[in-house]
Symmetry: C2
DNA sequence: CTGCATAGTGCATTATATGGCTCTTTTTGG
DNA sequence: CCAAAAAGAGCCATATAATGCACTATGCAG
C-alpha cells in the first residue's frame, strides 16, 4: 500500500464506523492535530502513531511480501 | 502485527535475502544508523522510513482489518 | 589467537513529528 | 439560506526521529 492508499484506508474505515476525527483522537491517544494532518496527507506519522490510530479503528499495520502479481 | 513482530519480519526477510543492513540502508536511502536502531528495537520509525526499508526487501506496509478471530 | 565482516551503541546535530490553540473552510441538516 | 458539526490549516513550543562518526561486540574463517 502506498502512502495515499493507507490514508484512504484509514479515512474510509473511520467513515464506515461513523466516528469523527475527534473521537478517534481521543480513543487512540493521538493528538487531534496529528490525526488531521495525517488524514489530509500532510504528515509522516511514526509507526507508533499509525498503530494507535489503526488499533482504534479495528485495524492493524502489517508487512506483507508484495508478490501479489509476479508475472501478470 | 505488533511492533516486535514487524521488526522480526524485517530482520527475517533481510536474512532470507542474504543482504546486510548496510546494503539495505544504501538501497533504501535510509541511514544505516536508523536501520540499525530499528532492527535492534530501539526506534520508532516514521511511516516513510518503514516503507523505504520494506520496499527494498520486496515487502510493503499495509493496513488490515483485524477480525482474524472474531469470536473464537 | 588474529583478522574481517556484520551488527549494536554513545554522542551530538539537524530535521521533523507531535499536539494545543485559534481560525477558516467544507460538509451536513433543517 | 443558515447554523452547527466536522475537517483542514497557521503558528509555535517541545519531543524525538534521522543521521554521521567513532567505538564496541559478536560471529566466523584460517
Amino acid at each position: 500500500m502506498h502512502y495515499a492508499e493507507l490514508i484512504k484506508t484509514i479515512k474510509a474505515r473511520r467513515e464506515v464506523l461513523q466516528v469523527t476525527q475527534e473521537t478517534v483522537a481521543e480513543l487512540s491517544g493521538v493528538g487531534l492535530r496529528t490525526l488531521k494532518q495525517f488524514e489530509s496527507g500532510k504528515g509522516n506519522p511514526t509507526l507508533l502513531t499509525l498503530q494507535k490510530i489503526a488499533d482504534v479503528l479495528g485495524m492493524e499495520v502489517s508487512l506483507t511480501i508484495k508478490n501479489i502479481a509476479p508475472n501478470k
